[in-house]
Amino acid sequence: MTDLVLKNIGKTYPNGYQAIPSIDLSIEEGEFIVLVGPSGCGKSTLLRMVAGLETITQGDLLIKGNRVNDKEPADRDIAMVFQNYALYPHMTVRANMEYGLKNRGVSKDERHTKVMDVAQMLGLDELLDRRPGQLSGGQRQRVAMGRAMVRDPKVFLFDEPLSNLDAKLRVQMRVEIRQLQRKLATTTLYVTHDQVEAMTLADRLVVLNKGKAEQIGTPMELYDKPATTFVAEFIGSPSMNLFDAMLTERGIELSESLTLLMPHQYRGAIKWGIRPEHLLQSDEANGDFSLQVQAVESLGAETLIHGVLEDGTEQPKPIVVRLAGPHLPDIGSRMWLTAPLKHWHLFDATTQQRL
């Protein structure tokens, strides 16, 4: 059963600025959907529209089949976890968690059992009588999640909940959020700008750019078959190498002197892309092209080599290669590479759409 349906949802501010032109999305029960995009792409606005904190100026929002466009946030049966946690500083952890229930007139005993259940699940039972000011960042994060879980809502909304944590804790909480969501099987909408978070958490990803959904799909779909150049560059780290090229009968012409052979019918300007991890080190005899090494980033398990493509033109075209294990090429040296055909990505140069 579909839990949450966004039908032609749009947002135009009173001053005429169109933050979100139109988005269609239907989310199955228990699905974990991640909205991802660069800052200013409208992902938080969209989440806040679902929450009811921003008005919806166009389209319909359905939760479990009911149109909730004009309902107050409290009446939509959603719970939200904020970036800064937004815990009430003067209340204890327990009071923070049960405040929503109290306002709904839930009896004291029921509140108590619910809070205890959630607190045990999150390991907060020792902290129930503390105030948020006495907790660490990770604990506050947990309380914020606990406050959302206690209500047992139909939809969880997360607004960049991990961005205030340090790197190690972020990884830990990421795993924990995923496990909790699986266990509770509550439909979840999660906003982030971090593509690692997006890839690891999501059942399905929505990549947003300037208020438009560029692509909706599973993380691997997006990785293997990005629908647009934007998605191609956004998903994956380091991002995909993209070059302007001409598609001719002979193949892909990166420059006058460099052509990758691939007989094809279509003719025209395209963008040719390949991910850094799909480029293979080769030698002069077998290599498709070469690069001039400019910087080397050794990460131990892998090495990132930044260079410029040697295609016979003056214009420098930066390219990144990701090789497994340690490599130490000299700066300025030449490195030959092969680009396996199955990992090529071709996009139309004008529409930016996948070919």
């Binding site: 107050e72 946030p73 904020f82 009430y88 003067h90 405040y99 929503g100």
Partner: protein
């Protein structure tokens, strides 16, 4: 810069001691004077050590009559002052916190215009608008009444402004969290806003209590009946004796009594007061 040389320490202590001496001397004179027999001030020298009339003077002033032209005991004046000061303080805080709430958290037409009009009343203290205010209070038949003493002093641009600043520093996410938690405007106000501005309220309470307690001109103008006289204004009338001697010993007792409540408020609420002015509790 922290210096730790013996000479500078000696010097700074000396300056502080002189300061304390200058500030404390009048209080000391009042304290000593309140124990002197009648007329000892009129001998030409100011007594610097306790006399033997302390208990009688204090009992007379507190419970019999204040002396000079005042026929009512000082405890009644104290009560009047307390009613006025508390009325002004609580009224000011209540009105300004509500108006700040409206200005910060609600969107309505002319919102900022209204704020600036409130803000502009900073330029109109009681002294400036005293004639029209008197007219209004007289027409409302509130001369010689507690409400007449309190009402004109209740509106406060300063407090509204302070609460506005305090509310604006509350993160928007907190307001939204409360909305999602199902707290309507009234619940939000009482459950979240009031407890969060606790320290600000305490700080304002101290400032406003002293302001209210020290009101002089307004009570002097609108009260003609002894029973509504306030303590601070009646000290002056104790000094204007048509003929005969000023009863300095009684004046000193009254002065000390007038000082006590503000001191008690400041001392009692010191901790909260400093907290309210210094940090906005994250």
């Amino acid at each position: 810069m922290i210096e730790n040389r013996p000479w500078s320490r000696l010097l700074s202590h000396l300056i502080l001691i002189i300061g304390v001496f200058i500030v404390a001397l009048p209080v000391w004179v009042a304290l000593v004077g309140s124990t002197q027999p009648e007329g000892s001030f009129n001998s030409g020298s100011i007594p610097l050590w306790f006399g033997d009339q302390g208990v009688q003077n204090w009992a007379h002033v507190l419970f019999a009559e204040a002396g000079s032209t005042l026929q009512i005991p000082v405890w009644h004046l104290l009560l009047n002052s307390l009613v006025m000061a508390l009325g002004i303080t609580i009224g000011k805080i209540a009105i300004s916190i509500i108006s700040a709430y409206a200005i910060v958290f609600f969107r309505f037409p002319f919102r900022s215009a209204i704020f600036w009009v409130i803000f502009m009343t900073l330029m109109l203290p009681v002294e400036v608008r005293i004639v029209p205010t008197y007219q209004v209070i007289a027409n409302l038949d509130m001369l010689n009444s507690y409400s007449g003493l309190i009402l004109p002093l209740i509106a406060s641009a300063t407090a509204t402004f302070l609460f506005r600043q305090c509310f604006m520093s509350i993160p928007g996410e907190l307001v939204e969290a409360a909305r999602i938690d199902g707290a309507g405007p009234i619940r939000f106000f009482f459950d979240i806003l009031l407890p969060m501005s606790r320290t600000n309220i305490a700080a304002l309470f101290v400032i406003m209590f002293i302001y209210g307690w020290n009101q002089y001109l307004w009570p002097l103008i609108i009260t003609t009946d002894d029973t509504y006289y306030t303590l601070v204004m009646s000290i002056k009338s104790m000094l204007s004796v048509p003929d005969g001697d000023i009863q300095w010993n009684y004046v000193m007792v009254t002065t000390l009594l007038a000082m006590l409540p503000p001191v008690a408020v400041v001392v009692g609420m010191q901790k909260l007061f400093v907290k309210g002015l210094v940090d906005a509790e994250k």
